[in-house]
C-alpha cells in the first residue's frame, strides 16, 4: 500500500518537474518566460563584463607596479635549492642504485647526463661571452641582441673528464661515477664562499671536483641587477667524481653550499642549500 502511494507521489513529482521545465499556461521555462530569461541573462552578461573589466584592470595595475627585472620579494628563495643529475627519485628522495656489470642499469643515468649537458655544448653557448673569473659580472645596460643582457660561457668541457666528451660513460662503468650538481638560480644571490663538498671524509682521494679548483667563479652566479635570466644563460655546474665508493653498500652523500648567507638546515626542505642522495654501486 505504502509503496503504491509513494509511486504516485513520484510520478506526481515528475509531472511537477515537467511543469516546471515547461509550463504551457504561462509559457514559462524553468520558472521564467523566454523574455525574462533574456533579460536576466543580459543582466548577468553585463555584470560579468564589468567584473572581468575590474579584474583585468586590477591585474594590469599589478603588473604595472611590480618590477619587471627582479621579483619584489624573495621570501622563499633566501637560500637557493641544489639539484643533482642524474636524478632518480625513490621512496625517499634521490636514490641512485646501479650495477657496474649490468650496462642496462646505468645506461639511463648516463643518458640523462648527456641530455642535460646538451645545453652546455659550445653550439648552445655560442652567443655567450667569456667572462673574467673572480668577479661578479655586472651589466647595467642591455647590449645583447633583442635588448637583453649577456651571459657568461659555461661549456661542458669545463667539467673535464665528467663532461661526457672524454668518457661517454661518465665513469659509471668503472664504478667511479660522475654526478653533476647544480645550484638553482636565484636572482640577486651573492655567495661569499664558493665551495661545495660532500661532508664525508675518507681519504682525499675519494672524490674530485670539476672544475678542479672551485665550484664556480663568481661571474657564473646570476649577476646582480640582472633581470629575467638572459636568454642563453646556463647555470654553472660542478661535477663530482666519486673515486672509491664502497661497493655493494648504500652510501648517503650530502652536498652543501657553504656560504654565510645560505642555509642548508631547513628541516622541511631537503633541497635548500644542499642535496642529499643515496648511492649504491653493486658489483
Amino acid at each position: 500500500m505504502a509503496a503504491l502511494q509513494e509511486k504516485k507521489t513520484c510520478s506526481q513529482r515528475m509531472e511537477e518537474f515537467r511543469h516546471y521545465c515547461w509550463n504551457p499556461d504561462t509559457g514559462q521555462m524553468l520558472g521564467r518566460t523566454l523574455s525574462k530569461w533574456v533579460w536576466i541573462s543580459l543582466y548577468y552578461v553585463a555584470f560579468y563584463v564589468v567584473m572581468t573589466g575590474l579584474f583585468a584592470l586590477a591585474i594590469y595595475t599589478l603588473m604595472w607596479t611590480i618590477d619587471p627585472y627582479t621579483p619584489d620579494y624573495q621570501d622563499q628563495l633566501k637560500s637557493p635549492g641544489v639539484t643533482l643529475r642524474p636524478d632518480v627519485y625513490g621512496e625517499r628522495g634521490l636514490e641512485i642504485f646501479y650495477n657496474v656489470s649490468d650496462n642496462a642499469s646505468w645506461k639511463d643515468l648516463t643518458q640523462t647526463l648527456h641530455k642535460f649537458l646538451t645545453a652546455y655544448s659550445p653550439a648552445a653557448q655560442e652567443e655567450n661571452i667569456n667572462c673574467s673569473s673572480g668577479q661578479y659580472f655586472n651589466q647595467i645596460e642591455f647590449h645583447a641582441p633583442n635588448h637583453t643582457k649577456f651571459s657568461c660561457k659555461f661549456t661542458a668541457e669545463m667539467l673535464q673528464n665528467c663532461s661526457g666528451l672524454t668518457d661517454p660513460n661518465f665513469g659509471f662503468g668503472e664504478g667511479k661515477p660522475c654526478f653533476i650538481i647544480k645550484m638553482n638560480r636565484v636572482s640577486l644571490l651573492r655567495l661569499d664562499s664558493k665551495y661545495i663538498f660532500p661532508p664525508f671524509r675518507q681519504s682525499p682521494q675519494s672524490h674530485s671536483f670539476l672544475p678542479s679548483s672551485a665550484l664556480c667563479s663568481k661571474h657564473q652566479i646570476p649577476p646582480t641587477n640582472q633581470d629575467i635570466t638572459p636568454p642563453h644563460y646556463s647555470n654553472p655546474l660542478v661535477a663530482a667524481k666519486f673515486l672509491n665508493i664502497p661497493k655493494n653498500k648504500e652510501v648517503i652523500i650530502v652536498c652543501k653550499i657553504i656560504a654565510e648567507n645560505v642555509s642548508f638546515d631547513n628541516p622541511h626542505d631537503p633541497y635548500e642549500g644542499k642535496v642529499e642522495f643515496k648511492l649504491k654501486i653493486q658489483k
Binding site: P71, V186, S187, Y233
Partner: protein, 1039 residues
C-alpha cells in the same frame, strides 16, 4: 487472519498492559511481519475510533443493569478478590505516561535530518575521496580525512548543543507537574476504606466530596448538591451540578457522569466506577494526543528545501566539472576526487551551528518574555503562523467568574472585570446600591480561607463555588471589611442553593442596634426571584412592581443574558418586628417566614471575563494578518460574547443570525457572504462535511466554534491546515492536547495548563497570557528574516571557496586555497558574524505584514541563491584571486606563468622549477609559496566577508537607515574575524600543518577595494529595490 487482526486492534484500543496478561499474545514468534503490518492500520483505526465521538452507554442504563454489568453491589461494593481480578485484567488506574521519546533517541534525532544530513553525506564523501587518494598514493595529504572528521564533530557538537537547549526547557516544564498520590474512599466487602486511587477498578463504589479530584470515570448513583468543575474537559468555567439523573444522550453532557481528573467543588456524591486509567474519557483524549502525528515544522521544511538547493547546486557543478575534467584528459579517479571536492566545497559547515545557535538565542529571548519553547524549531513556527485557534477558558479569559454588570435603579452599570478589579467606577451613592451590597455580602456562603490576612483580595483563596466566590471578592473590593460586616449581621437561618428552588436565602440580624427587625436576603435565578417579589426598590424607595418595572427587568435580564453572562437576582425583606421578635426561632424545614412579597433590589451578572491584555493582542494579530479563531467547549452565547469583547468578532461584523435579526428575515434568506463572522456549535460541526468546513473557514474571517469536543478541535485544526495555513493552537485542558499536538505549533498554558497539554505542546506560556503569543510571533518573524540574512551571508563565501578549486581544475594553477583554510573560514572567522546577524533588528514593522505563505515565501528563494552565489560570491572570488595573483607575482610567478603549471608545480621530483624571472624553486619553496597564497586568499575572503556581514544587515533598507552601530554583536563578529585571521597568520603561521604563513602587512589590504565595491553595489541594489517596488529589479534582486 482477519479475526486475529481485529483482536489485536481491540487490545490496542482497550488496554496497554494486556499483552503481559494474555497468554495468547505471548506467542510472539507468530510472524513479526504481520504484526508490523497490522500496526500501521491499527494506529489508523485507533485514531478513527477516537475521532468518532465517544460511545458509552453506562449513563443510560439503570443501576440494576450496572450492577450486573460490573459484577458489583451498590451497598456492598466489590469483593476484594473480584477487585484484585479486575485489577489484574485492566491494570492500574493511571494514565500511561505520555510516551516520551527516549533521551538517546532525542539526542540522535538532533543529528539527522536537515542540515545535519548534508554534513553526514559530506563526511562520507570525504572518506571516500581520502580512500581513493590514499590507494593511489599513500603519502597523500590528510586534508580530506581532517575535513570528514571535522564535519562529524560539527554535527555532533551542534546536536549536543540543540539537545541541551531543548532538554533545558523540557526540564523547566517538567518542574511544573507535581505528583501528589491520591486516595479514594471506596466501599469494598461492605465496608468503607481508603485506598490509593490507582488501585480503583471498574465496579468499585466510590464516595467523593467537595475538594476531591474524581478518581475515575464514575456514574453518579447518589448526590447531595454535588458540583464539579469540568473546565479542563469541556471548557465550561461554570460549575456543573452532578446528579443521578440521565439528562442527555451525549455522555459528555449528561449530568450523571463524573469524569476522571475533574474536581468536585462542593457537595458529596457516590458513584460506580465505569472506566479506569487510559479507558477514561481523559485517558482516551490523552492517548488520542499521542497517536496524532505531528506535522513537520515549517522551518524544517524550509531547511530541507535549502538543503535541496545546496545539494542540487553542488551536484550539478560537480558533474559539469567532472565532465570537463574528463575532457581535459584527467584520469577518471582524479575526476572523481574533483567531483567530491566540489560537492564538499558547497557544504556550509558553519551554518548548522549558526542556525542552531541563533534559534536558541531567540528561544532564550522568548523565554524571557514568558514563552518557553520546547522544540527549537518551533521558535520560527510561531512567526509563520497564519491561524491561531485559541481555547477560550483560561487562555482568553481569566478562568474565574467575575461580576461584570449590575442592574439597579433601572440602569445597567458596568463593573471592572480586569484582573485586579480596582477601578469600580459605577455610581455607588444610591440607597438601592447600599441594599444590594448588603444582600451580596450577607447572602453568600463563600468564605476566605484561613491565614490570608496579607494576601490581596483577588489572590485570596476562597472556599465556595465560583459565583459566590466572585460575589465575595466583589464585595471585598468595595469594602475592606466583609467579614466584619457579616459578624455584625449574624446569620440566624439559611437555606443553601439547590437546583429545585434555584434560590438561596438567609436571615440576619441587622447591624443597627436600634433596628430590631430581621433582614431576609435572597438571591437566585432572576425569574424565580422576581416571582417572589411584589415591590421593587428604586433610588432607595420601595415602589410597587408594576408592568413597566417588570418590562424594565425583562429588558435588562435579556440584555445581560445576551452577553453570555450568568445573571442573578437579588431581593430582601425586613421582617416586621411584631411578627418576628428577636427570640423568634426560624425553621428552614417548615419555612415559617415569608418568601413572597419581597422587595426586588437588583440584578448582578457574572462572567468569566477576558484577560485585559487579550483585546490588544487580538488586534495585533489581526494587523499581522493572522486569523484568530476561538474554539471552546463552552456555550455559543458565552463564547460569542467573549469573542466580541476580545475582538475575535469585531464590533461591526455580524453573523448570519445577526443579519437575520436585523433585517427580520429568516436565517436561510441571508446571503452568507455578507456575514464576516460565524458562530458554529459542535452539533452543527458534526453535520458538516470537510468541504463545508473548508468553505466555512474560507468565507468567514471571524469564527467561533462552541461546544466542541476534543475530537472536533482536531478536525478544525486539520481543516485549517488544509487551507495551507500554519496553525497555532492554544489551550490548557486535557481536551486540548490532541489539537495541540496536531497543530503546527501547540501552545500550552504554564500555570493553568494540565500536564497532558504541556506535554503535547511545543511551547508553554509561563504567564498564561495570550499576549505573550504576539511577542512570540514577532520574534518568530524576526528570526525568519534574520535566518535569510545568515544563510545569504554563509552562501556567499561558499562560491569564493569553490571557485579556486574550479580554476585549479580548469586553468591548472597552483591551488589558491586549501581545505584547512576553508574550514577556518567556515568554522572560525564566519561563525560569530553569522550568529550576530540573529541579533539584527527588524527592518520595518514586521507585525504589519501578512504571515508568510508556506509555498511562496521561502527561506531560501532563487533571488537569494542567485544574488549570493552569482553576484556577491563571484565578486568575492575575484577579490580573492586578485590577492592570490598578487602574492605569486611579487614572489616571481606572474599570472601567465601560473597557467597550466600544476603538473610541474606539484611534482615532488621537480626541484628546479623556473618562475617568470628565471629563478628556480624547490618543491618545498613552492609549497611554502602556495601556503602564502592560501593565507592571502583566506585574508581576502575574510576582508570581503566583513563587507558581506555589513551588507547582510539589511535586505531592503540602507545600512544607514538601519544604523551601523545598533547591533553591537556585528562589531564583535567583525572583530572576531580580524582577530582570528591575525592569530592564524601571525601566531600560528609557523605551524606547517595548518598551512598558514605570515603575510606581509600590505596583502591584508589587497581585497579592501573589492569589499568596498561589494558594499557599494549592495547599497545600489537596495536603493533601486526601494525606489522601484514591483519592478524587474525588485523581482530579481530582492531576496
Amino acid at each position: 487472519m482477519d479475526q486475529e487482526k481485529s483482536e489485536i486492534c481491540n487490545i490496542k484500543v482497550n488496554g496497554t498492559n494486556f499483552e503481559k496478561v494474555d497468554n495468547e499474545m505471548a506467542k510472539k514468534d507468530d510472524s513479526k511481519e504481520k504484526k508490523k503490518l497490522s500496526k500501521r492500520t491499527l494506529k489508523k483505526e485507533h485514531q478513527k475510533e477516537l475521532k468518532k465521538d465517544l460511545d458509552l452507554n453506562d449513563h443510560k442504563i439503570s443501576t440494576k443493569e450496572l450492577e450486573e454489568k460490573y459484577g458489583t453491589s451498590i451497598i456492598q461494593g466489590l469483593t476484594s478478590t473480584r477487585a484484585a481480578e479486575v485489577l489484574a485484567r485492566d491494570g492500574l488506574n493511571v494514565l500511561t505516561p505520555f510516551k516520551d521519546t527516549p533521551k538517546i533517541i532525542k539526542f540522535f534525532k538532533q543529528m539527522v535530518g536537515g542540515f545535519s544530513s548534508l554534513l553526514w553525506a559530506g563526511a562520507i564523501l570525504c572518506f571516500i575521496a581520502y580512500v581513493i587518494e590514499f590507494s593511489k598514493d599513500n603519502s597523500v595529504s590528510m586534508d580530506n580525512l581532517y575535513l570528514g572528521v571535522v564535519l562529524i564533530i560539527v554535527v555532533i557538537l551542534t546536536g549536543m548543543f540543540a539537545y541541551y537547549q531543548e532538554a533545558k526547557s523540557t526540564n523547566i516544564i517538567a518542574s511544573f507537574s507535581k505528583m501528589i498520590p491520591r486516595k479514594a474512599l471506596v466501599i469494598r466487602d461492605g465496608e468503607k476504606r481508603e485506598i490509593p486511587a490507582e488501585e480503583l477498578v471498574v465496579g468499585d463504589i466510590v464516595e467523593i466530596k467537595g475538594g476531591d479530584q474524581i478518581p475515575a470515570d464514575i456514574r453518579i448513583l447518589d448526590s447531595q448538591g454535588c458540583k464539579v468543575d469540568n473546565s479542563s474537559l469541556t471548557g465550561e468555567s461554570e460549575p456543573q451540578t452532578r446528579s443521578c439523573h440521565f439528562t442527555h444522550e451525549n455522555p459528555l453532557e449528561t449530568k450523571n457522569i463524573g469524569f476522571y481528573s475533574t474536581t468536585c467543588l462542593e457537595g458529596t456524591a457516590t458513584g460506580i466506577v465505569i472506566n479506569t486509567g487510559d479507558r477514561t474519557i481523559i485517558g482516551r483524549i490523552a492517548s488520542l494526543a499521542s497517536s496524532v502525528g505531528q506535522e513537520k515544522t515549517p522551518i524544517a521544511i524550509e531547511i530541507e528545501h535549502f538543503v535541496h538547493i545546496v545539494a542540487g547546486v553542488a551536484v550539478s557543478i560537480g558533474i559539469v566539472f567532472f565532465i570537463i575534467a574528463i575532457c581535459m584528459k584527467y584520469r577518471v579517479l582524479d575526476a572523481v576526487v574533483f567531483l567530491i571536492g566540489i560537492i564538499l566545497a558547497n557544504v556550509p559547515e558553519g551554518l548548522v551551528a549558526a542556525v542552531t545557535v541563533s534559534l536558541s538565542l531567540t528561544a532564550k529571548r522568548m523565554a524571557k518574555k514568558n514563552c518557553l519553547v520546547k522544540n527549537l524549531e518551533a521558535v520560527e513556527t510561531l512567526g509563520s503562523t497564519s491561524i491561531i485557534c485559541s481555547d477560550k477558558t483560561g487562555t482568553l479569559t481569566q478562568n474565574r467568574m467575575t461580576v461584570a454588570h449590575l442592574w439597579f435603579d433601572n440602569q445597567i452599570y458596568r463593573a471592572d472585570t480586569s484582573e485586579d478589579q480596582k477601578a469600580q467606577s459605577f455610581d455607588q451613592s444610591s440607597a438601592t446600591w447600599a441594599s444590594l451590597f448588603n444582600i451580596v455580602t450577607l447572602c453568600n456562603r463563600a468564605e476566605f480561607g484561613a491565614g490570608q490576612e496579607n494576601v490581596s483580595i483577588m489572590k485570596k483563596i476562597v472556599i465556595g463555588d465560583a459565583s459566590e466566590t466572585a460575589l465575595l471578592k466583589f464585595s471585598g473590593i468595595i469594602t475592606d471589611d466583609v467579614i466584619g460586616k457579616r459578624k455584625r449581621n449574624p446569620k440566624v437561618a439559611e437555606i443553601p442553593f439547590n437546583s429545585v428552588n434555584k434560590f438561596q436565602l438567609s436571615i440576619h440580624e441587622t447591624d443597627d442596634p436600634n433596628d430590631k427587625r430581621f433582614l431576609l436576603v435572597m438571591k437566585g435565578a432572576p425569574e424565580r426571584i422576581l416571582e417572589k417579589c411584589s415591590t421593587i426598590m428604586i433610588n432607595g424607595q420601595e415602589q410597587p412592581l408594576d408592568e413597566s418595572a417588570r418590562e424594565a427587568f425583562q429588558t435588562a435580564y435579556m440584555e445581560l443574558g445576551g452577553l453570555g453572562e450568568r445573571v442573578l437576582g437579588f431581593c430582601h425583606l425586613y421582617l416586621p418586628e411584631d411578627e418576628f421578635p428577636d427570640t423568634y426561632s426560624f425553621d428552614i424545614e417548615t419555612m415559617n417566614f415569608p418568601t413572597s412579597d419581597l422587595c426586588f433590589v437588583g440584578l448582578i451578572s457574572l462572567i468569566d471575563p477576558p484577560r485585559s491584555t487579550v483585546p490588544d493582542a487580538v488586534i495585533k494579530c489581526r494587523s499581522a494578518g493572522i486569523k484568530v479563531i476561538m474554539v471552546t467547549g463552552d456555550h455559543p452565547i458565552t463564547a460569542k460574547a467573549i469573542a466580541r469583547s476580545v475582538g475575535i468578532i469585531s464590533a461591526n461584523s455580524e453573523t448570519v443570525e445577526d443579519i437575520a435579526k436585523r433585517l427580520k428575515i429568516p436565517v436561510e434568506q441571508v446571503n452568507k457572504r455578507e456575514a464576516k463572522a460565524a458562530v458554529v456549535s459542535g452539533m452543527e460541526l458534526k453535520e458538516m462535511s470537510p468541504e463545508q468546513l473548508d468553505e466555512l473557514l474560507k468565507n468567514h474571517s471571524e469564527i467561533v466554534f462552541a461546544r466542541t469536543s476534543p475530537q472536533q478541535k482536531l478536525i478544525i485544526v486539520e481543516g485549517c491546515q488544509r487551507q495551507d495555513a500554519i496553525v497555532a493552537v492554544t489551550g490548557d485542558g486535557v481536551n486540548d492536547s490532541p489539537a495541540l499536538k496536531k497543530a503546527n505549533i501547540g501552545i500550552a498554558m504554564g500555570f493553568a495548563g494540565s500536564d497532558a497539554a504541556k506535554n503535547a505542546a511545543d511551547m508553554v506560556l509561563l504567564d498564561d497570557n495570550f499576549s505573550s503569543i504576539v511577542t512570540g510571533i514577532e520574534e518568530g518573524r524576526l528570526i525568519f528574516d534574520n535566518m535569510k540574512k545568515i544563510i545569504a551571508f554563509t552562501l556567499t563565501k561558499n562560491i569564493a571557496e569553490l571557485c579556486p578549486f574550479l580554476i585549479f581544475i580548469i586553468a591548472g594553477v597552483p591551488l589558491p586555497i586549501g581545505t584547512i583554510a576553508i574550514l577556518f573560514i567556515d568554522l572560525g572567522t564566519d561563525v560569530i558574524p553569522s550568529i550576530a546577524l540573529a541579533y539584527e533588528k527588524a527592518e520595518s514593522d514586521i507585525m504589519n505584514r501578512k504571515p508568510r505563505h508556506k509555498k511562496k515565501d521561502r527561506l531560501v528563494n532563487h533571488q537569494l541563491a542567485l544574488y549570493s552565489y552569482l553576484q556577491i560570491g563571484i565578486l568575492q572570488s575575484v577579490g580573492g584571486f586578485f590577492a592570490y595573483f598578487t602574492v605569486y607575482a611579487v614572489q616571481g610567478f606572474r599570472p601567465e606563468r601560473l597557467l597550466y603549471l600544476r603538473p610541474f608545480w606539484e611534482d615532488n621530483t621537480f626541484n628546479d622549477l623556473e618562475d617568470s624571472y628565471g629563478q628556480e624553486w624547490t618543491k618545498y619553496q613552492r609549497k611554502y609559496l602556495e601556503w602564502t597564497g592560501y593565507t592571502a586568499y583566506f585574508v581576502a575572503v575574510m576582508v570581503q566577508q566583513i563587507a558581506d556581514v555589513i551588507i547582510r544587515k539589511t535586505r531592503i533598507n540602507s545600512i544607514f537607515q538601519q544604523g551601523l552601530f545598533r547591533n553591537k554583536y556585528i562589531w564583535v563578529g567583525i572583530a572576531s574575524q580580524i582577530i582570528i585571521a591575525v592569530i592564524l597568520s601571525c601566531g600560528l603561521g609557523s605551524i606547517t600543518a595548518l598551512n598558514f604563513t605570515t603575510l606581509r602587512i600590505q596583502y591584508w589590504f589587497v581585497a579592501v577595494p573589492y569589499a568596498i565595491i561589494i558594499w557599494l553595489y549592495d547599497e545600489f541594489r537596495k536603493l533601486l529595490v526601494r525606489q522601484y517596488p514591483g519592478s524587474w529589479w525588485d523581482n530579481n534582486m530582492y531576496y
